[in-house]
Every structure is written in C-alpha cells, then in structure tokens.
C-alpha cells in the first residue's frame, strides 16, 4: 500500500503491537495494514480496555487514538506509564491541533500520526519508535520539531486540565458521555456514593453547577471529543 521501506526482517522477533481505536473500520484497517510486518497481539475499542490489555500483554508498541469512549487516549497514556512502562505509545488520531500534539508528548507519546497522513507515515513512525526516536507526521502550519528532542514534559504547553486529578478526569469524561452515576460506578468499580462525591467536588472545584456545563468543560479541555 505504500512505498516505505519494509519494517525489520522476519528473522528478528516481530515487534508486538496493541491497537486501541473505537471505529471498527479504522481498527481493522490498522490491523490489515500492519499485520504483515508486526505481531498484532490484540485490538481494543476503548481506553479502559486498553489499560487492561496493556497490563496483560506488555506490548512493544501501543497504537492509540485520542478520542475514545470510557477513557480518552491522553488520560490512558498517563496510566499506561504505570501499567506498561516499556510500551512505546504511537498516537493515531484525527486531531491536527498542535495543542493535542503537545499534550500527547507530555502524556508520554513516542510518536504522533494524524489520520490525514498516508500510511507510509505510520510505518515510518513505527520504525522510528522501534529505533528509539520520536516521530511526528507532517502537520501543515505547525512547527513541532522541538518535541522530537529534549524533555517533552518541560515547558508550559497546554495541559489538559491542571485543576483535576486523574480520577476526577475519568469521572468527568463518563459524566460528559451521558452516563448515570450508577453506570459510572459500574465502569470504575467504585460505589455510586463515591461517584457522586467526586462529581460534587469537580463541580465545586470548577465552579460549575450542571451536567451541561461539565460536558462543555470536558469538550473544551479535550477530555471528550469536540467535533
């Protein structure tokens, strides 16, 4: 499908890859695209399933989207640093906004590929990451090369939502997805009372009063997708 140089020869053990992408067509497309050269150990469709699969499989590479149900890719990435610290994270996403690129590298990304680029860029990203380097696919009008060296966590580039803890962001995403307190409790394996306690603290912290306001906050801060 592309003219890119082939990935490492079959003699070496094939790198193990986990794919997290909520759209089935894209998930299957990535699998077909990469299965020839890489060992696709599993594919998952949301951020929470990603955490479970990563902990179980400890893949060499994780391809992940930013907008995913239950737990977005950026928040998942921060937790992946704990559950599978040696996995290299390759974001594959529609978001070409440089703010997202910054956030991805601060969350521990090794590469960032926008879906508007050709598959040859994704192959290149995987090659670079396997060679221990970082990679960003071309994004028109954005100068991001400084993220390829040095400490991407340094600098004051857009943080998701400094005010909230990881748990609070998780709950905020689920609220903004329209889930009830009971459903959220089920997803996170905590009590409904704890969910309501968290929701109330988020509202107090952000000085917001309604679910609608929480939803808009989540959209504006990249916690759920904003079209």
């Amino acid at each position: 499908m592309s003219g890119a140089t082939p990935l490492p020869a079959a003699a070496a053990p094939r790198p193990r890859v986990l794919i997290a992408e909520d759209h089935t067509l894209v998930r299957e497309g990535l699998r077909i695209l990469l299965a020839g050269e890489l060992d696709i150990v599993d594919t998952v469709e949301d951020g929470r399933a990603l955490l479970g699969a990563a902990e179980r499989l400890r893949p060499d590479i994780i391809l992940l989207d930013i907008s995913m149900p239950l737990l977005n890719g950026l928040d998942a990435a921060r937790q992946l640093a704990q559950v599978s610290p040696n996995s290299k994270l390759v974001f594959v996403t529609m978001h070409a906004d440089p703010a997202y690129v910054h956030q991805a590298f601060r969350a521990g990304a090794a590469a960032y590929v926008v879906k508007s680029s050709a598959s040859s860029h994704l192959i290149e990203a995987i090659q670079e990451v396997l060679a221990g380097r970082r990679y960003i696919s071309p994004i028109p009008g954005a100068e991001l090369s400084h993220l390829l060296s040095g400490d991407p966590k340094a600098g004051a580039a857009g943080e998701l939502s400094d005010a909230l803890t990881a748990r609070q962001r998780e709950i905020l995403q689920l609220v903004a997805e329209g889930r009830t307190a009971r459903e959220i409790a089920g997803v996170l394996g905590i009590s409904r009372k704890t969910v309501e306690f968290h929701k109330a603290s988020i509202m107090r912290l952000l000085r917001l009063h309604t679910t609608a306001e929480l939803t808009r906050y989540a959209m504006a801060h990249g916690i759920i997708a904003s079209a």
Partner: protein
C-alpha cells in the same frame, strides 16, 4: 462486472483502508480528499457508487450529494461516517444519499452495505437503532426531516448552557411542562438520550461556543 466506486474521505489513512477493504468486490475508480475534487471526479468518472464523509474540505458531503443528485442521477451516494446521530442520518437521506454506514461497521458490513445499495436498496447501519419501518426522508418528501423548530433550538441552547427546566420556562415564558415536552421531542428527533449528549450536539452544531477551545490553551 464489479460496481465502479469512487471514494472520498479527508483522512488519507482511512482512504487507504477503504481501498484495501473494497478492492476485491468493487472496481475502485478513484480516491479524493475534498468535496470539490469529488464532484469533479464523479462527473468525469461516472461511478456507480460514491462513498463519502460529512466533513470534507471545500464543499461538504451533503452539498456534494445534492449536486450529484442533479448532475449524475445514476450515481448512488453512501456516507461512511463517524457521525452516529439521527440528525446527520436524516440530512443525508434528505440530500439524496442511498446508504449510511458508520465507521463502527466491520469491513464485511461495509462491503455488504455497498453491494446492497448498488442493487438499488437503501442501507442504514443497524447500530443507529432505527425501527425497521423507519422510512428515510427522500429529496422529494422532506416531511419529518431532522430540522428542529426555532423554539426547539432555543430550548436546546438553554439546556446546553446549563439552565434547569424551571429557568428555561421562566426565560421563555412557558410552563415547565411545555419545556419538558420540548426536551423530550428534541431527544427523540435527534436520537440523543442524555443532557450531556444534547449539550455535545449543541456545541458541535454551533448553537453555543465551548467556554475555551483547547488550542487557546497551548
């Protein structure tokens, strides 16, 4: 002979995937990344089927479908899209589309859907949860199309701004009961069940602006 198909999506990666899914059962005559290019290529290539997404640079998907309806009545348009709300579905069929496949579909579902449309049927992804007798509006009968009334749009905007039912009632000078009936009607028309989903819809359709865009925080 395999149906001739023209593919449009602004994401090159997705376009390449569609080609790999479809090239066995269809003759892929072209791939384009923008609305204007799609119209131009369709007129030149006269495909049996056009696959497209709602958001295309230049001319958007709905406008493309309307244009092709008049210029190429023999070409059938199918949305392959990430938009899973009924408003988008209704708009697509009202513009003249013949199929609506979510990007959530499996490659097998996509192939089957496109084959059905090429045989003259219409297709809608089952995950949209439409009743079996749901009739897509056609370009001729726009009745029951997804357009909300001015009053419904006002109610939706106030819901998304975070107003309570009581506040909306007093703001619009109507009863709480009327507000609730509007809200139920909007939810049903858009196929959206929660306040959060209505709020996302309102922001995505520009009824109000999110407080801060992520890019402004960089």
């Amino acid at each position: 002979m395999a149906p001739r198909i023209l593919l449009a999506d602004d994401h090159t990666l997705v376009l390449e995937m569609l080609v790999s899914f479809l090239s066995e059962d269809f003759s892929v005559v072209g791939t384009v990344r923008a609305g204007d290019a799609l119209i131009e290529a369709a007129i030149r290539l006269r495909p049996d089927l056009v696959v497209l997404e709602h958001a295309l640079p230049g001319t958007d998907g709905l406008t493309v479908v309307r244009t092709l309806q008049t210029k190429l009545p023999g070409t059938r348009c199918v949305f392959v899209t990430r938009h899973a709300d009924l408003h988008h579905v209704r708009d697509a069929f009202a513009a003249g589309a013949r199929g609506y496949v979510l990007k959530d579909a499996t490659p097998q579902e996509l192939v089957a859907a496109l084959l059905r449309v090429s045989h003259g049927e219409t297709y809608i992804s089952p995950r949209l949860g439409l009743e079996p007798n749901w009739a897509p509006p056609t370009a001729v009968t726009r009745e029951g199309s997804g357009e909300l009334t001015a009053r419904q749009l006002e109610v939706l905007r106030l819901v998304a701004e975070g107003c309570t039912g009581k506040q909306i009632a007093s703001e619009l000078g109507i009863s709480l009961k009327t507000v609730e009936s509007h809200k139920a009607c909007i939810s049903r028309q858009l196929g959206l069940r929660s306040t959060a989903a209505l709020t996302r819809y309102a922001v995505e359709h520009g009824l109000l602006r999110p407080p801060v865009a992520p890019s402004e925080r960089a």
